[in-house]
Amino acid sequence: MDMVITGKVLVYDDNIDTDIICPGRFLELNESKDIANVAMSGIDSNFPEKAKTHSIIIAGKNFGCGSSRDHAVRALKYSGLKAVIAQSFGRIFYRNALNLGLLVIISKDARNIFNDGESGKIDLTKGKITNMDKIITVDSDVISEEEFKVYEQGGMIQIYKQN
């Protein structure tokens, strides 16, 4: 995994819950492409299409609150998303993301400097997030070395596999 990640962003509000990210009726799906097809269908039926050209979600507080379903993480990861930046995350979503290797970053200010479709740059080691179109940089929490290693290997699931 790169220390610097770039991509176009999609911006969402507070409390994007797991029913929005993957509605309950789709929990019977198991194949990655099927789960990717319903990502964010509670709010945006065009998300899978948008995810082809946008690779970073930027959101407000409590992203991924609600159900324990790791379908929510799988849906975003399988859509090709590189990272989710939010002001805060639902507890189980955060844990699921670390398990499955979807990069999640906490930043209080990123939400305030981006609009849909703008280009973002995440510098993981420095804890900086930049709007490349407006050339504005804000802080994020720094990913620890341990966390970086987990992400680098594809999540806790891969580490358990090797052990």
Partner: protein, 417 residues
Amino acid sequence: MPMHAIHKILAEKSGKQEVKAGEIVNAKVDIAGINDIYLTVLISYDDMGGGKVWDPEKIVFFFDHNAPSPTIKGASNQKVMSEFAREQGIKKIFKINEGICHSVLSESGLVKPGDIIIITDSHTTTLGAFGAFATGVGSTDLAVIMMTGELWFRVPEVINVKLEGTLKDGVMAKDIALHMLGELGTEFATYKVIEYSDSVVEKLSIDERMVLCNMSVEMGAKSTYIRPNSKTIEYVKSRSHAPFIVHETDPDFIYDKEYIFNLDNLLPQVSIPDSVDNARNIEEVEGISIDQVFIGSCTGGKLTDLEAAANILKGKKIAESVRLVVTPSSKEVLTKAIERGYYQTFLDAGAAITTPGCGACFGGHSGLIAAGEKCATTSNRNFPGRMGSIEAGVYLVSPITAAYTAITGKLNNPQYK
């Protein structure tokens, strides 16, 4: 160092003398539960290498979300799980006739004070009502427990919520939870344990305590705790002969935060779309037309909930404009509700009654709502699309408010007046 009872559970299960908030521990799990919608547990288990499970006696399957299965895919997932359980010698499968995991687990004597209970359902916080450390996890964490019998936890801080005063008629535990959400929001307890204490909690029935603990996950809580009293001990002993330890919180333990709610003047609450913390006094929303009333789920489908609704609906008919769906939380609730005549009351009133399970609450089946419709529900979430169309509105209410609303077709609960 003074410890909370929850910390003593985590210390004991991780082989330590003491633990403190913020520390990471690897703790042994007493029960690991898998719901039927998460075949991803077995997929993750295979991804990690598969093989024999750690202890087939401690793994439980719940066929509760698709009970009975509304789709071929759902049936197929249950079939794969049944085959897996058979191959692995897992005997504890609660099939499609049994009901919702949190109800059936406590009813069957598998939850005791001091236990660590982990299920792939976020509302597992419910079981803190029995003095257990209980929390929901995703599929991969559950797969790790299946393989090793253990899971890592960050030892949580504990928030003490003191509930004082006397509840007005027509006000239930659900109203307390919605009021707390309205006051404190959806994040105040993230990563933390909520303990409920004081006079109101002491008086509440086991069912009503479960409601507080159930709704705590909507406040972000990792788990909950109610100090087991004689009611709890009696309930557990009537269902389990296994020994258990009630850990006591040290008197000089320091809580992360303390909130005191005096509930003397609390009115029935309604959380309006699309967030659980959009709580309003009933007076502010009285008269809003409702298309469907749902009485069910792990939050609002227990015996006390059905009893509260049946007492109001007895001899009454629901409004012409409304439909009423009743889903008991378990087979035991169903059986007792029949014995006590609640089923006849619901049927006479015009209700549709479904198999025990999670059905409409999670937007799966058996009572979904159309675009433009409004549903008043005793369940736990009102996110957009939670119970069907994303253009529908979900109003969270208590069973008493649900019953009055079914009669008039409009949000109301005159009992507190």
